[in-house]
């Protein structure tokens, strides 16, 4: 052991000084803390949500803000990791002294972040994190605008009933929290709908070759192939279904990857006629949905999708609750959030308790879209359909 | 019963026999020299004795016990110490720490180990460089460190593998003196050496190996006179 480096202590003290100097803030604004993945693999969606939050806040501030003061958004990057998300939430609460929290993209990060908010009793409106457990813990400061992952399959149930002839299912899912919990829910739902699950397989996201699992699927001849996959896995799965000439009556995706433009671009012809569940599309019949979509496109010159709408909606819900709250104390804001009943671009928002869940928003409808001739069309529920769904899916060799 | 003996040692590497039937006996307290041309299997024999690898066949008997195939560290604990031809200093440790690490084979506390180490360093004449890092020693120092370290394990039988190679005449004399001192201490020594002067002066008996096989054995004089040895090995130097 050499002499203990004294210079190191100097460096440490200097660093600490820098730390203490940072974060001096102007007062008067209502601070809203937002935890999102701004770097890392999920950054794409973090970015869309961040922009949507900012857009909404600008609109609200332009329209007079909250009781005379303006919304100030403090974003913290969770990098997609629960421990970082937790630290970021703590920083927002104890250093930045935010009034209310929102955001939360991945389920894992959201779980960690909401636990902190609950401990410190700061109201937290969860935007995306969709694992069922998040609103099943009885946390009274946690609200969620996003329906839980178990509800993504709901519209398919009615569609399948209507379409008829579907008796067996192959269920493929990525081994992530979203994938594993969705698969569990879908399997249950399928069983109660009298559909036999003939293949159920998880996979590591990022595989090159799905042919082994798909040849098994081909052998089982399911009527529907339901896939919970992220965008590029989704594209490869479909492309390889085409390569292996697998012809079920229906290809269905459970949210996430199948609704993104990249899916269609990468899978090209193989994407055609694929169904997907979605919580939102610009065609939904809610006031402001189409406007939000167009405004976003114009302002940022890039595409948005349901995550953005959730964020946009969340901002309005938070603003609404702040306006109605008796004071900006956590308790009053909590009560105001609990009394929310409003329409947003994402859909109607009202926090209710059902099953094991508490303070959970329940959308009246989730939707089924289908890729038709390179365009994603809303096809279900019938009342909102822009185009008639095409069923059964013709065999690959019969397509033009 | 012989103090130490090897019987028909054989070692194959792949299809090649590096040692092919070496047998000899060593009496307690003697200095026993092994000679032979390069690549004749001397070091391989040492490696089998000290457990670096097991022999393909044959026996190594030390104080009546068969030790062939035992692990190096076990053989060390039985009282067989060795040095390496290509020195292996524990480079980033001081000379004292090198020897202390060796001393732990006999004692357990750090104080005792230090004591043993310091004594051994004094005995072997390394005291002036005790605090120097082993990697900083010149070659003579490293060779001597090998011996010192081996001595700190308190061996009853010491195997010296070319400890004099690369030394200048003064250092050579010091080495001879040290080896004599070690024997004087009651330690039996088996020595491999190329430097004829050293091995002829030191050894009580000499065993000659060629092509992995024993070819002659006897006092230095006898071996030096053996025609087979002269032909095989000494020929180049003495003819």
């Amino acid at each position: 052991m050499r002499a203990y480096p004294k210079g190191l202590l100097t460096v440490a003290v200097l660093l600490l000084a820098v730390v203490l100097c940072g974060g001096v803030m102007a007062a008067e604004n209502v601070k809203v803390g937002i935890v999102l993945p701004l770097t890392g693999a999920q950054a794409k969606f973090g970015e869309i949500e961040k922009r949507s939050f900012e857009m909404a806040a600008e609109e609200i501030n332009a329209a007079g803000g909250i009781k005379g003061s303006k919304l100030e958004l403090l974003f913290e990057d969770d990098t997609g990791k629960p421990d970082v998300g937790r630290a970021a939430t703590e920083k927002l609460i104890s250093r930045d002294k935010v009034t209310v929290l929102t955001g939360g993209y991945s389920s894992a990060v959201t779980q960690a972040a909401t636990a902190v908010a609950q401990q410190f009793k700061v109201p937290f409106l969860v935007t995306t994190g969709s694992a069922d457990e998040i609103t099943e813990k009885g946390y009274d400061y946690i609200f969620r605008i996003n329906p839980t992952s178990s509800e993504y399959f709901d519209p398919f149930e009615t569609l399948i009933q209507k379409a008829g002839g579907i008796k067996t299912m192959a269920l493929l899912y990525e081994n992530t929290q979203f994938g594993q919990s969705s698969a569990k829910d879908v399997e249950g739902a399928a069983k109660s709908a009298g559909i036999q699950v003939v293949v159920k397989e998880g996979y590591q996201a990022g595989a090159i070759d799905f042919k082994p699992i798909l040849s098994k699927v081909k052998g089982a001849k399911p009527d529907i192939i339901y896939m919970v996959s992220y965008v590029m896995d989704a594209a490869l799965l479909m492309a390889q279904c085409k390569e292996l000439d697998i012809n079920p009556k229906m290809f269905a995706g459970g949210g996430a990857g199948f609704t993104l433009p990249e899916f269609q671009q990468k899978a090209a012809a193989a994407a055609d006629l694929v169904y997907s569940a979605t919580l939102w599309s610009e065609d939904v019949p809610y006031k402001g949905a189409k406007e939000y979509f167009n405004k976003f496109k114009k302002k940022y010159n890039s595409e948005t999708e349901y995550h953005g709408a959730e964020a946009y909606g969340s901002m309005y819900v938070v603003a609404d609750a702040l306006k109605r709250a008796k004071s900006f104390s956590p308790n009053d804001i909590r009560d105001a959030l609990a009394a929310t009943d409003m329409m947003t671009a994402f859909g109607p928002v009202k926090f209710i308790s059902y099953g094991k869940k508490t303070q959970q928003n329940k959308l009246p409808n989730t939707f089924v879209v289908q890729w038709q001739k390179g365009k994603m069309e809303t096809v279900w529920p019938e009342a909102f359909a822009k185009k008639k769904y095409i069923f059964p899916t013709p065999a690959w060799k019969d397509r033009k | 019963m012989a103090y130490f003996k090897v019987e028909k040692l054989v070692k194959y590497f792949g299809g090649l026999a590096a040692v092919n039937g070496v047998s000899f006996e060593v009496q307690k307290g003697e200095i026993f020299g092994i000679i032979g041309p390069n690549g004749c299997g001397k070091t391989t024999t040492f490696n089998m004795i000290s457990g670096v690898f097991p022999p393909t066949s044959g026996k190594v008997i030390y104080q009546g016990k068969e030790i062939q195939g035992m692990k190096s560290h076990k053989i060390c604990h039985l009282g067989v110490g060795r040095t390496f031809q290509v020195v292996k200093p524990l480079g980033r440790m001081s000379v004292l720490d090198n020897v202390t690490a060796a001393a732990f084979s006999r004692v357990n506390t750090i104080r005792e180990a230090r004591e043993v180490a310091e004594k051994t360093i004094d005995f072997c004449g390394l005291a002036p460089v005790a605090d120097v890092l082993a990697k900083a020693l010149p070659i003579a120092g490293r060779k001597r460190l090998e011996i010192t370290r081996a001595m700190a394990t308190r061996p009853d039988l010491l195997l010296l593998d070319e400890t004099a190679a690369g030394l200048n005449p003064t250092e050579l004399l010091e080495a001879i003196e040290l080896i004599r001192k070690i024997r004087g201490n009651g330690t039996t020594v088996i020595i491999i050496e190329h430097i004829m002067h050293l091995i002829m002066t030191l050894s009580d008996r000499i065993h000659a190996i060629n092509f992995g096989q024993s070819v002659a054995e006897g006092t230095p004089k006898e071996v030096a006179a053996n025609p087979q040895v002269i032909e095989a090995y000494l020929g180049k130097d003495y003819a």
Binding site: M1, A3, Y4, P5, K6, G7, L8, L9, V18, V19, G22, G23, V24, M25, A26, L38, T39, D77, P82, D83, R86, A87, E90, I93, S94, R95, S107, A108, Q111, A112, A115, Q119, N175, Q177, Q180, S181 | S50, G51, V52, S72, H73, C76, K88, P89, L90, G91, R92, M93, D97, A101, A102, F104, S105, N108, T109, I110, A113, R149, A152, T153
Partner: protein
């Protein structure tokens, strides 16, 4: 080998008194992370830095400790604090057979095998949904609202780890470890059972890493396979912490932990809000953009740091302190 330097005692005393002065949760959190990294870094160091057995898969032990704590909660509803008692033991029980099988493999093979062990455990924890909760992870409600108890527990553990590591290094084991690192054949010839002592070193290392994992579970309240078995966030980070600070030195990992945790947070937060502050003050977009650049750069900075440290300070900051002092403080008289 010297006595504990006064500076180290002063540092520990200062850390112990810190919460009385600075009760800020955010800083306490960073300090807790720092202390956890002191534990992991020192554990990695005793095996790699002192015994010369480089592990590329220390997350295997960290994750095992964390899951031991988590599984106590998940199966049977015990407290996750039981993990503090058994997490280290579980990691050791994983490490010993692994070591027994893989230590005879010399050099890089052992490192690769440890990497494989790490990945295998991560996949198994993901697949064994019924047993581990799969990717849904294990979530508990933290025991304390305040950070202070966690801080003292972690500080205690970190100090304990350093004290144990230090006393091992100064004992027979320490001499044996370093001998094995320096030359395995020589060590064998000196009566050192190299395989056995490599295993001893592995066991110590795994034990403390596993305990750190259990502590993490208790403190963070959430684990999933990709978090605690993360190759990048734990296995590689453990190596970085040790080599930046200095492998084969007692205080190297502590210094490395301070730098790595500090840097990570510095960049993640955009120099602790400095850029945002400047941006708000001046109203200039440049600072906001600069902040985004900085936020995205932290792993890049880690990478560059590794390259620079290995090239210019191969023994880390503590190991090469003399060299640094010479070049940085050249004009000043030696301290």
């Amino acid at each position: 080998m010297k006595k504990t330097p006064v500076a180290a005692i002063v540092a520990v005393a200062a850390l112990a008194l810190l919460p009385l002065v600075l009760a800020d949760n955010y800083f306490l959190h960073l300090l807790i992370l720092f202390l956890i990294w002191v534990i992991i870094g020192s554990s990695w160091n005793i095996m790699a830095g002192y015994t010369g057995q480089v592990s590329f898969g220390h997350a295997a032990f960290f994750g095992t400790g964390a899951y031991t704590a988590g599984l106590f909660v998940m199966h049977g509803g015990f407290s996750a604090w039981w993990g503090m008692a058994f997490g280290g033991v579980a990691a050791m029980l994983l490490g010993l057979p692994f070591g027994a099988i893989c230590f005879p493999l010399r050099g890089a093979y052992f490192a690769l095998a440890s990497l494989a062990l790490n990945l295998i455990l991560m996949h198994l924890a993901t697949i064994a949904e019924r047993f581990t909760g799969g990717m849904q992870g294990i979530m508990i409600m933290p025991t304390f609202v305040s950070k202070v108890p966690y801080y003292y527990i972690t500080l205690g553990m970190a100090v304990a780890t350093l004290v144990v590591v230090q006393s091992i290094i100064r004992s027979k084991w320490g001499y044996y470890f370093v001998s094995i690192r320096e030359d395995q054949d020589a060590a064998e010839s000196l009566g050192i059972d190299t395989n056995r002592y490599k295993n001893v070193s592995l066991a110590v290392s795994a034990f403390f890493t596993g305990t750190a994992g259990a502590l993490y579970m208790n403190y963070m309240g959430f684990i999933d396979p990709h978090v605690v078995f993360s190759l990048h966030d734990y296995s590689v980070m453990a190596i970085l912490v040790a080599i930046v600070g200095g492998v084969g030195t007692i205080y190297g990992p502590a210094v490395g932990a301070f730098i790595m945790v500090g840097l990570q947070e510095l960049f993640r937060s955009g120099f602790f809000g400095l850029f945002k502050y400047l941006g708000d003050r001046t109203g200039s977009e440049t600072f906001t953009q600069a902040m985004e650049v900085v936020q995205h750069a932290h792993v890049l900075v880690f990478g560059i740091l590794v390259v620079v440290v290995i090239l210019f300070l191969p023994n880390g900051i503590v190991g090469d302190w003399g060299k640094i002092r010479k070049s940085v403080f050249r004009s000043k008289p030696a301290a």
